[in-house]
């Protein structure tokens, strides 16, 4: 298993601004994943972040809107850029081990 922490746990932001979310894992992992959970909905994968390479984005998500950094094997950041109210969601990072996928507690973002 893994212990995953995220910062901040929640934030309220103004439209047009950007927020960077941090994800820290207590063990080294090759791949980290970022998901979005819009209000009342299921989780959708945003991108896969490999250390030392560019993140791979899913259909409907672009690097200009959601830039990702992966400086080492235990840490990643997701930035939500030029925010609008439609970006209000819970953002979760995740790692996958043989026992299953493990998720951080999430960052609850509200954009006004």
């Amino acid at each position: 298993s893994a212990v995953i922490s995220q910062k901040p746990s929640r934030d309220i932001c103004q439209r047009g601004t950007s927020l960077t979310i941090q994800c820290q894992v207590d063990s080294q992992v090759t791949m980290m994943f970022w998901y979005r959970q819009q209000p009342g909905q299921s989780l959708t994968l945003i991108a896969t972040a490999n250390q030392g390479s560019e993140a791979t984005y899913e259909s409907g998500f672009v690097i200009d809107k959601f830039p990702i950094s992966r400086p080492n094997l235990t840490f990643s950041t997701l930035t939500v850029s030029n925010m609008s109210p439609e970006d209000s969601s819970i953002y979760l990072c995740s790692v996958l081990f043989s026992g299953g996928g493990f998720f951080g507690p999430g960052t609850r973002l509200t954009v006004l």
């Binding site: 791949m31 994943f33 909905q41 299921s42 989780l43 959708t44 994968l45 896969t48 791979t56 979760l92 995740s94 996958l96 026992g99 299953g100 996928g101 493990f102 998720f103 951080g104 507690p105 999430g106």
Partner: protein
């Protein structure tokens, strides 16, 4: 492409009665399947995982799921519901690149 369909968006049971949450999968090969639970304002918790070792998988908190290839199903069951089981449940399939694809979720209500 692999996908999962949760057949019920909402299930309501009485405390002490059995729980059945239905999930069908679509995959060209034997997939890795998971069930997760999300309590209100809480993180995602892995209930159980199927990886082709045994068709009946036992998870935490008395939940189990049976993989039926002939029916392409992976239903979640529990013999006796507790009030604390009230939550959102997600059926999940692992796709290429170790990515997780979530079903739309089933909201379980447990009535006293």
């Amino acid at each position: 492409a692999q996908s999962v369909t949760q057949l019920d968006s909402h299930v309501s049971v009485s405390e002490g009665t059995p729980v059945l949450l239905r999930c069908n999968y679509s995959s060209s090969y034997s997939p890795s399947l998971f069930w997760y639970v999300q309590h209100p304002n809480k993180g995602l918790q892995l209930l159980l995982k199927y990886t082709s070792a045994a068709t009946l998988v036992k998870g935490i908190n008395g939940f189990e799921a049976e993989f039926k290839k002939s029916e392409t199903s992976f239903h979640l069951t529990k013999p006796s519901a507790h009030m604390s089981d009230a939550a959102e449940y997600f059926c999940v399939v692992e796709t290429s690149g170790s990515r997780l694809t979530f079903g739309e979720g089933t909201q379980l209500t447990v009535n006293p």
